[in-house]
Symmetry: C2
Subunit: 299 residues, 2 copies
């Protein structure tokens, strides 16, 4: 039996990966700093550790004895995470975790990377082809961790896959982020200001992201894998769709906010590796996904 | 007054950087795990810490209160260091050190990188131009640390320079390495087997490397800087020169050892950044440097 240890298991993505891992036959173990939320408690065997403390990784791995690792934990405070020194502490914690996992005979590790590792002057982002040139400390920390982790996996003899996350939305999204902020405003009958939104991005519903990570963990694909839809959509279209689904297009204020300086025109993943090698496809269309997000904010 | 904290200060390079730092006006503080060797004791104010222990970096920085950091410490066990998991522990320790240094208001950090970060299918290695493609865990760990460290320095507001070390020789060299092994054999009247040695490399005497790091610390140049001569010499020529200087060419056995598989034909640094921007040039010619190394082994 394969036993997976999930970090960040109560987070935005992590909570969505637990059931899909179990569906794929894993015995699911999860890390949390405190008590898991009630709805997540039955989805895993929980281990209480804070990965930022020096001995936690070794102790957690000793307790859970995983064959597989799904490492999603990271510092994620909205806005602040791009430039926080906490990124360094998470690189350190992640390396300790990889060492502990390898020392205990772990076979396969899947870690969360980011589209922020790529050179954003390219509009189509292709694994092992588009140059990496992270413009932020967050992106650099992820890229640096992958450089070290990949070489370590090759030496220590375990498999390592690196799922690069793109743009996402869905239940439990930080209310200051795009889809959540528009959805909440409309549902409360308030105006929803947004920028012109001509930038094209690659969106996935977070439940699909969690499922994709579970599929990646269950596969034998190594290296970088874009976790994305492979389809570009203008931010503006996303906002308009939320407006239409909520029946409150009258409250949209597209263009009321300034465009973010230096925001690239187009960031879309090449998702062929995920589709063809991992054999995964999203379950949500953009419309179904946004409807689901609206339902969640309504409830 | 500028105060520099040197890590790895009793090591092969570090011990050669102490006097040159003082000559450039630094108040020199140095880290060591134990008592420093007698000949180094007067060259710095010594602080006893083991950087691999979690609190050491913060405590050392609090004690020494440096404006400058010269971080040379790393795992260096001959042969083993290329692939050891100790590399991960040194990435972790180095990130802790950078955080402590920045938190305490440090202004400028210089760290040791390696030519092993580059893609060795290129014969001329140029900073910010030759692609990085480390083939070893050691090279990947250095490259990953630089990726994270550089972005952190930009956020935290201190300068960071990254000195990429090439091939070196001189006093205190590990006796299993090329120049040291040939020199010792010849001085003991024993045969000195070596490979055909047609590979071209970029060599510096280690005293020049220590001096170059001191110059880099005293400069305001940021980013990657090759610490090298910029001149290629065939390994075979180096061996022949050691033979001639020792007067024991009769004991050379060039070609007696097999070539290392996959060893690239040519690895030479572009050293213009070091010469022109840092304003540094080596003091030893290859012949003078090898003579000095022989003298040291003789004594």
């Amino acid at each position: 039996m394969s036993r997976v240890l999930v970090t960040g298991a109560t987070g935005f993505i992590g909570r969505q990966a637990l059931a899909p891992l179990a569906e794929r036959g894993f015995e699911v173990h999860a890390l949390a700093r405190g008590e898991p939320p009630q709805e997540l408690a039955p989805l895993a065997t929980w281990h209480r550790f804070d990965l930022l403390s020096p001995e936690a990784a070794a102790d957690a791995v000793a307790e859970a004895a995983p064959t597989h690792l799904l490492h999603l934990a990271w510092y994620a405070e909205h806005g602040v995470f791009w430039s926080s020194p906490e990124n360094l502490r998470w690189v350190e914690a992640s390396l300790r975790l990889l060492r502990a996992f390898a020392d205990a005979g772990g076979r396969r590790a899947v870690l969360a990377g980011s589209c922020a590792e790529y050179d954003w002057s390219h509009g189509l982002l292709v694994e092992d082809e588009t140059p990496l040139a992270p413009a932020t400390l967050y992106g650099a920390s992820k890229a640096g961790l992958h450089t070290v982790g990949r070489a370590y996996a090759a030496e220590a003899g375990f498999e390592l896959a690196w799922g690069r996350v793109f743009f996402l939305y869905g239940p439990h999204e930080d209310p200051r982020r795009l889809v959540a902020s528009v959805a909440r405003a409309l549902l409360q009958g308030e105006e929803a200001p947004s920028s012109e939104g001509r930038q094209v991005r690659d969106f996935l519903h977070v439940a699909d992201v969690g499922d994709a990570f579970a599929a990646l963990a269950a596969s034998d694909v190594s290296g970088a894998v874009n976790v994305a839809s492979g389809e570009g959509v203008a931010i503006r279209e996303v906002v308009e769709l939320v407006g239409a689904l909520a029946g409150r297009e009258d409250l949209l204020r597209i263009g009321a906010l300034p465009a973010r300086e230096g925001d690239p025109a187009r960031l879309v993943a090449d998702a062929r590796r995920l589709r063809e090698q991992v054999g995964w496809a999203p379950r949500f269309t953009l419309e179904d996904g946004l409807r689901d997000a609206l339902d969640w904010w309504r409830a």
